[in-house]
């Protein structure tokens, strides 16, 4: 069992500011269902650049909910210029600390706040740029370097605790170590972090695929009593499961290739292949 502080438990059991601000001045949407936590932060900013209201909706564990609740309490009444300076460590401190494996929850809070402020200002964050290092959780080198600096990280394990990078298949651990060495400047990295540039992170891919499934494909299949569920995305391989009438339909394979795959290639990425999970 995690050792949560009383403050974390209290904010988890009695979260403040749950919901969405009406007509928000800024929205920050980070994380995804696939990754196991997600946070939607909405803020209302008045003409003096002060955050007059902040609300959250969070899918995640106790520390994710507590971090979100803490964040909204911290920024209400703050000037945007002050709120900008909030780091994940501030959120963790507000909660009296978080278990080290849960620090990524406070990072999610900081990311949501940044995204909401950027949205308020009408600018696009540079975060999604950079090269994806951790494919499992879609974490880029820029995010990792920034977190290493912000939180004074010293090991790959700490990088995983704070950013989730390396927490899935673990194949990127060498790259993480190289990034760490480079960033700390202690040991010169043997080689520049490898990895071919990709147009989309896995995370972005999943989000986009989920969107297209919901908006375009599911309504169409449901007309015939069928349905479809996203199971997994591995590189460009999209694994889905056909549901309802589709399971017994002789044409379901055709639907999969001729309709679902075509649609996803057209609207998400033209290198995707769609397979049914057996």
């Amino acid at each position: 069992m995690w050792q949560y502080t009383d403050v974390v438990q209290e904010h988890f059991l009695n979260p403040r500011n749950v919901g969405e601000v009406e007509n928000p001045s800024g929205t920050g949407d980070v994380g995804s269902l696939a990754c196991g936590d997600a946070l939607k932060l909405t803020i209302k900013v008045d003409e003096n650049d002060t955050i007059v209201d902040a609300r959250f909706k969070t899918f995640g564990c106790a520390s994710a909910i507590a971090s979100s609740s803490a964040l909204t309490e911290m920024i209400k009444g703050m000037k945007i210029s002050e709120a900008e300076k909030i780091t994940n460590q501030h959120i963790a401190d507000f909660l009296g600390g978080l278990p080290k494996e849960k620090m990524h929850c406070s990072v999610m809070g900081r990311e949501a706040l940044e995204a909401a402020i950027a949205d308020y200002r009408g600018i696009i964050l540079p975060m999604a740029e950079g090269e994806v290092v951790c494919e499992c959780f879609g974490v880029t080198d820029l995010e990792i370097i920034r977190t290493i600096k912000d939180s004074d990280l010293r090991s790959v394990e700490e990088i995983t605790n704070f950013t989730k990078a390396g927490g899935g298949c673990g194949k990127c651990e060498d790259k993480l170590q190289a990034l760490l060495n480079e960033t700390l400047g202690t040991i010169p990295a043997k080689e520049k972090v490898a990895g071919k540039p990709q147009k989309m992170t896995t995370l972005q891919k999943i989000k986009k695929i989920e969107e297209v499934l919901e908006r375009e494909i599911k309504p169409m299949l449901r007309q015939d009593g069928g349905d479809i569920e996203l199971i997994d995305v591995d590189g460009d391989d999209v694994l889905v499961s056909m549901r309802g009438a589709c399971t017994s339909c002789a044409k379901s394979q055709m639907t999969l290739k001729e309709y679902v795959e075509k649609k996803l290639r057209e609207l998400v990425l033209d290198t995707l292949t769609v397979e049914e999970a057996k």
Binding site: G36, D37, F59, G60, C61, K164, G167, A277
Partner: protein
Amino acid sequence: MKTTPGKEIYMDNNATTRIAPEVVEAMMPFLTDYYGNPSSMYNFGGQVAEKITAARRQVADLLGADPEEITFTSCGTESDSTAVLSALKSFPERKHILTTRVEHPAVKTLCESLEALTGHKHRVTRLKVAADGTLDMAEYEKALSEDTAIVSVMWANNETGVLFPVEEMAAMAKERGILFHTDAVQAVGKVPINMKESSVDFLSLSGHKLHAPKGVGVLYVRRGTPFVPFLAGGHQERGRRGGTENVASIVGLGRACSLAAEKMEEENSRVKALRDRLEERLLANVPRALLNGHKTERLPNTSNISFEFVEGESILLHLNELNICASSGSACTSGSLEPSHVLRAMGVPFTAAHGSIRFSLSVYNTDEEVDYVLEKIPAIIATLRKMSPFWTGE
């Protein structure tokens, strides 16, 4: 807040179980007055050895085995490692291990480490499972090869309770001269097992899953099966497992096995009825709740239910406030960042895998406890869903 013992509503019996009072009673003399070493040459030790012999008989009776086929170990994990490594050492020319994608970490991690350690000299085939957690026997048959040193397939899955047809699988392995191991940690005491009628060569069980204490397990080894010990040391357990016997726990495990035989009927009737009622009402009363695992090919005590769009740890901690103990296959509860490998192997969608809760009952659960859990869960799920950015329902 701490949970006062006796106040808990314990529905996590696949994690561990309460030590039966009868078991505690049987153990006590060996924690106090009877401290002799069973190997010693005087009565003060010899009388302790007699109790180990009696316990071995009790375990053998539950499994329909001969006492000499029973080796006491420290836990299920040790039994699993012993069996798999023994087979590999007995057939060094065979490099193939056949297992499933949904094994307990005791076998899963062992296979991964064997692949890594020997520079992939060992080849591991992991059988897929269907959406309901069951195996494809045709795939299994195809995977058996002359190079297979051992098949290791769990009898019942710890997360979903799904049962595998191990008897049939063991017979198929035997026809081809391949050793068969089953991790039966969750099955023993809940499913009738008769090794006399079986082709299984190795079977692992764990004391603390059947109301004996933690720190004691058993490896069943069929008579005549080649065997190489895992722990080298003294002559204990006929040289099959060195180390002075954990006497009190072994005696406790013996008593627990005789109790399990008495209570197997109750497990499969009263406990099963409690589980079914809990499951049916939850699926009916909570929208977007899904059952994980085959409805009938399953242990009588286990129910794994996904509550879509909410996260398992949050559910568990709300339950914890009510002293209700259960577990989850979500990423957050495991310390890893990914949800349960079992649910992923079954293709449970992301929307559901993170919100899975496992209830595992025992003979100590009551109707009142099930009522209480049924009363509390819908509100907890509703509260968390109201907070979830993915929940669009009412």
